[in-house]
């Protein structure tokens, strides 16, 4: 008798853990972002997602709740929290689903499931580099690498890291981010140096960074062309340094953002023995598959060539957010797997991008291309 009762209790407590919502939510904004190619900002009313999500997590959105064509919801990275009761996604029209989504009007309802997946791991004790004496002051350098619309899951990361451990003080961050996006929409020009290096000076030096800790944020942002560098005139406010690259050279460095990053890679990967600081460098990336594949290969080569030196990035140092087609988004359909190095052999195991990712450690990916 007692056995049955305790069994029931276990079942009941299991059923009460709500981590993910599925609701029809009102759209409050769905606007094409000025000066971009078919890129939209969608703001959705919901009080669960904005308060719970971690950058890198996503939602499944269905613009036609209850309808069968298109049948499946589409995954979108959570771009940012707008306020306690609204969150936003950033999307580029690239197919039937996003085309239909772009026609959704303010006041319409979309079906939202989320927040889903694992976001970026932003623990400051992550120890990106394996060397250094423990007596030194640890300086955390967060290097974000975005390709085009791949900025979406990364956008909230600096604020998320800064606010970590600052419970109950979220409002300032939210407002500041709001400003930056609005500025982008108004195409406000700031003093940008688009010389060959792609380097743009930030007006916010590390010393007067309001975070008051040892976090430094650096953004490498690339795309095909200028119009796909979203918020390019305002995004500096969140970073200590920003580097732009475009394939056609229309903005910043001409070429791959990955190549631009690797021009400076020794700044991040080599510790200065004489310095009183020990660098703890973490890389976070999201972008199209060829970009991520190139990035991962470059990091692998970097680690190989540094074998004898001290600057070897450990397995957690480079996190990448992968994109895939999902049917369920919660890990049951097994339609979105990626090959991960097996712990026991040279072989691989399949992991689910939606449930085990979408953020993975770059060095655990098996032949990602």
């Amino acid at each position: 008798m007692l056995y049955v009762w305790s069994k029931n209790l276990a079942a009941e407590s299991l059923m009460k853990t709500k981590k993910i919502i599925n609701e029809n939510c009102e759209v409050t904004v769905n606007l094409k972002i000025k000066d971009t190619e078919n890129t939209y900002l969608l703001r959705i009313k919901n009080n669960f997602v904005p308060q719970r999500f971690i950058p890198g997590q996503f939602v499944m959105l269905k613009h036609n709740p209850g309808s069968s064509d298109p049948l499946l919801a589409r995954p979108f990275s959570i771009f940012r929290k707008f306020n306690e009761n609204e969150f936003e996604i950033l999307y580029r029209v690239c197919g039937k689903g996003t085309d239909l989504l772009s026609n959704i009007k303010k006041g319409d309802y979309v079906s939202v499931t989320g927040p889903l997946g694992n976001g970026f791991n932003a623990l400051s004790d992550f120890q990106g580099l394996q060397n250094g004496g423990s007596t030194k002051i640890v300086k955390n350098i967060h290097v974000l690498i975005a390709g085009g619309i791949g900025i979406a899951p990364l956008f909230s990361l600096p604020d998320f890291i800064k606010n970590k451990g600052r419970a109950g003080n979220e409002s300032t961050a939210a407002h500041r981010v709001n400003d930056s996006a609005d500025n982008a929409a108004h195409n406000e020009r700031s003093n940008i140096n688009t010389e060959d290096s792609g380097r743009t000076p930030s007006n916010r030096a590390l010393e007067d960074c309001d975070c008051g800790d040892n976090n430094k944020f650096i953004l490498y942002y690339g795309s095909k062309t200028e119009k796909e560098l979203y918020f390019r005139y305002s995004i500096h406010s969140d970073y200590d340094e920003v580097y732009f690259a475009t394939d056609d050279g229309s903005f910043g460095y001409k070429g791959s953002v990955v190549d631009l990053l690797f021009k400076n890679i020794n700044d991040y990967c080599n510790q200065n023995e004489k310095s009183t600081e020990r660098l703890n460098v973490n890389f976070y990336a999201c972008g199209p598959k060829p970009m991520l594949s190139y990035l991962i290969n470059k990091f692998r080569a970097q680690n190989k060539s540094n074998m004898s030196n001290s600057g070897i990035l450990n397995e957690y140092a480079v996190q990448v957010s992968l994109e895939e087609h999902f049917a369920c988004g919660i890990g049951v359909c097994l339609g979105c797997v990626v090959k991960i190095n097996s712990a026991h052999s040279n072989n691989f195991v399949f992991k689910r991008v939606c449930k085990d990712g979408p953020v993975f450690n770059a060095f655990e990916l098996h032949d990602y291309c």
């Binding site: 993910i20 049948l71 079906s111 979105c336």
Partner: protein, 310 residues
């Protein structure tokens, strides 16, 4: 006229010896091992929990791409990825047992002997209420044709499973056969306790710009609303041919869809692809049907089962 209280309406059904409080369950392969959906929905209105198909050895499954969307449908070619019997026994069944809801374990084999061995092994695990044999997978020894397309093999598999296991046996049929009633009759004769149908329909989609199949294996199985009318017809064919109960499935996305399957002769129904968009679909179907029965002055789900043939 006296209106019935909706809670007085009997929703429980019997599938052979297996008693379900509610006649709605997830379809195998769309519910994992029960560990994911629990983060969104609760299982209290689920008639049963149905696992992803298990085989003796773990299976990695197919290369990507594994899924593609078609009008009102989804083609999948997952490749029967699963953790294998040992890991299921060690790591998955304990979680499923916790809910006090019948657990139906779907399984498959590469040969008839595999099915018998699996049935015997699964019967030794505590916490399994029924077995569901997936006979839609390829019979490797017979050139890869699905087991479920040959009546003699269906008989042999069903009989050998029943020989090895005391658990209620559900035989899940492939829809792509010329006479599904015959296959169902054979399974019944061989000792099946329940028939479930339909599995997905073999289907393909081609990317005309790449001039290639969209899925890595070329073809996969079609599910979703696109197959629903075909599934309703096949369920009715089987209902008319056998005395054992039928679990109906294929594109159910609403309680109205579910009622069609009951009226076609299903004693219970399962949802799969529909729950991807609406994780609350199972409880919503149960309450929708209950309301429908009440409004139409029925007192039990049994009042509408097979009603189109009465």
């Amino acid at each position: 006229m006296e209106e019935k209280n909706s809670q007085d309406i009997s929703m429980s059904v019997k599938l052979g010896r297996l008693l379900l409080k509610y006649p709605v369950m997830p379809a195998s392969g769309t519910f994992g091992y029960g560990e994911e959906f629990i983060e969104i929905t609760d299982y209290s209105l689920f008639g049963a929990l149905v696992t992803k198909g298990i085989s003796l050895e773990p299976s990695k499954g197919n290369e990507m791409p594994r899924i593609c969307e078609t009008p009102c449908g989804l083609i999948n070619s997952i490749g029967l990825e699963n953790v294998g019997f040992e890991k299921f026994k060690d790591e998955k069944i304990d979680f499923l047992k916790k809910f006090n809801i019948p657990v139906i374990v779907n399984f498959f084999g590469k040969s008839i002997e595999d099915y018998a061995i699996m049935a015997e092994k699964l019967s030794c695990i505590d916490g399994i209420s029924a077995l569901e044999a997936n006979i839609s997978c390829p019979n490797v020894k017979e050139g890869g044709r699905a087991f479920g397309t040959d009546p003699e093999i269906v008989y042999e598999i069903t009989a050998s499973i029943k020989n090895c296991s005391p658990l209620p046996l559900i035989v899940k049929l492939t829809p792509l056969v010329s006479d599904i009633a015959l296959i169902a009759e054979v399974a019944e004769k061989a000792g099946a306790d329940v028939i479930s149908l339909v599995n997905t329909f073999p289907a393909a989609s081609i990317d005309i710009n790449k001039r290639k199949f969209k899925l890595s294996r070329g073809y996969g199985g079609l599910s979703g609303p696109a197959i629903k009318p075909i599934a309703v017809k096949l369920v009715n064919d089987v209902y008319k041919a056998v005395r054992i109960p039928v679990i109906g499935m294929g594109g159910i996305s609403s309680w109205e869809d579910a009622v069609e399957f009951f009226m076609a002769g299903a004693t219970s129904i399962a949802v799969g692809t529909g729950a991807f968009n609406n994780p609350y679909l199972i409880p919503q179907i149960t309450s929708g049907i209950r309301k429908f029965l009440q409004e139409n002055n029925f007192s039990s789900i049994y009042d509408i089962i097979g009603i189109v043939n009465n």
